[in-house]
């Protein structure tokens, strides 16, 4: 991984400060085949540099919603403004310069002869000049630790590496908004941990990060805001702390808070303590209660 100084210079895109990253107004989407309602009126505003998660069961409308962001789907009614641009006037290709979409399965995404070509494909499509391509690739290789694989065929590297290549191939386009669809599916803890770090760093550099996931510990660890979807609508929009602490909400959506949050809810919270999202937070809280001083988290590795 590179130091963050080089990364800040622009592994990621340039948002237009004056506009919201995402501004969705009363969006409806009905699948043309069979008149299936997939979104029944969604309002959502996301500022630049936010990092948020979208949760809900399959069929709740999560994927449909994210596909509206980059114009893969156009709303049946309502308006989608991305960086101030109305997606209904744009092609997916035009939106690609603003919104990056990391698909769940990297196998759906990769097809070039080498990882280097894979990383160049996206930026080349959106008109990045050839001499700048090399620089972007070099930065991404550094950022994702892909140095040893650059000449390999994308299908010859291990699945976790392929996942990173899938993400890197989007990051080289430097979109100001980056969507992750189930980034931890099929990955072990080690890779998930790496992806968590990547999402956090991208956010630190100003990218708006949107993560659709069933992985509650991952979200608890990374995002600052959670959108809960059920039956084609947004039914909650709050911090992960508030969402995971809302027992009725979790029950209604059949979702389960991270184990540590459940422990906190049944121990320190009734005594006036905090809703913890990580073991470190809860340990600190317990320690303060007993000794009056906080535990210094000795390591962040879990």
């Amino acid at each position: 991984m590179s130091n963050s100084a080089t990364a800040t210079q622009g592994v990621t895109g340039q948002p237009r400060a004056s506009e919201r990253a995402v501004d969705i107004r009363d969006a409806h989407y009905v699948y043309p085949t069979g008149n299936v309602v997939a979104l029944g009126g969604v309002d959502l505003r996301v500022e630049h540099g936010e990092i948020l998660g979208i949760i809900g069961q399959n069929g709740s409308g999560k994927t449909t919603l994210t596909k509206l962001f980059n114009g893969l789907l156009k709303p049946t009614s309502g308006k989608i403004l991305i960086n101030g641009i109305d997606t209904s006037t744009q092609t997916v290709q035009q939106m690609a310069a603003h919104v990056g979409y990391v698909f769940q399965n990297p196998n759906h995404q990769l097809f070039a002869r080498s990882i280097e070509e894979e990383l160049k494909f996206g930026p080349r499509n959106i008109g990045v000049p050839e001499d700048e391509l090399d620089e972007r690739v070099a930065q991404a290789v550094e950022f994702f630790g892909l140095k040893d694989y650059i000449a390999e065929h994308p299908y010859r590297v291990s699945f976790p590496i392929r996942k990173l290549v899938g993400i890197a191939s989007i990051v080289t386009m430097r979109p100001s908004i980056l969507i992750f669809d189930e980034p931890s599916t099929g990955q072990d803890h080690n890779t998930t941990h790496i992806i968590n770090g990547l999402m956090r760093r991208l956010r630190d550099e100003g990218t708006t990060v949107i993560c659709v996931s069933h992985d509650m510990p991952l979200l608890a660890d990374v995002v600052k805001r959670v959108i809960v979807m059920k039956d084609t609508r947004i039914i909650a929009d709050a911090s992960p702390r508030e969402v995971f602490a809302d027992k009725a909400l979790m029950a209604r959506t059949n979702l389960q808070a991270p184990q540590i949050t459940e422990i906190a809810l049944n121990t320190v919270v009734p005594r006036g303590g905090h809703v913890a999202l990580t073991p470190e937070e809860l340990a600190a809280d317990i320690s303060t209660r007993i000794r009056g001083t906080a535990v210094t988290p000795s390591s962040t590795a879990r």
Binding site: S158, G186, L255, Q256, R271, S287, R289
Partner: protein
Amino acid sequence: MSDPIIRFDDVTFTYAATDEPALHSISLDIQAGEYVAILGLNGAGKTTLGLCVNGVIPTMLGGNLEGKVTVAGLDVSEYPVREMAKIVGMVFDNPEFQMSQMSVAEEVALGLENAGVPYEDMKRIIPETLELVGLAGFEERSPLGLSGGQQQRLAIAAVLAMQPQVLIMDEPTSNLDPIGKQEVFDMAAKLNRERGMTVIVIEHEVEVMARYADRVIVLDSGRVVMNGTPQEIFSQVDALGELKLRVPEAARLAQLLAKQELWSGPVPIRTESAVEAVNELLGAHNV
């Protein structure tokens, strides 16, 4: 203790066209009726281990197998996979890749048809099996029209119909949503408890395994590096951390508190035991 239902006797397996063994001198006994969780990073050899039990290795997938795998007293390398299917059922992470029929009933029937089970018996076995996995009444539906959780339960029903003694599930819920996950794990627990079925699950979600498993086996680069009860394994927070594996958050909490000399009792691995222990701790300090 009676003879184990599964025995690995110094098994080393190398896939064709590779040099590095996928499994390194594995010796392992699994008793009938156990619920075993197998943990490890991607590429640690978990799936390979499973395929050795149902005989896909070495009969279908080529390579060099040393040592001996015995299942229910049979040397696996001497029986074709379809014979082993009557003893071991295996399901994989992507349920859709295991569907081949036009209707749910026929999906379950496939194995029975191939085994020459008479129609009259199938008429009894199929609804029974679907009932067992909670898919009664779905007989005529198309497998591809089911939800992910339903599809995975159907994949399980399709192997259960052959009435195996062992069920191996390879990351059975990685493609499912939380409801689907719950459905599959509840069902596997029921099969294990009520029918005494031996269940082996390859899984990343340690909190879930802490709740269900009787035993946890940890693989690293093709070797068994840990083997014990969930309590024994998940208490070793630092050792698992070095293997880049997660531990239940409850165990991690206990470890953090132990470093502050606030915790001395056993390491909790389930939510309920952690809640109880933390409340006791807070109570003892009058907070």
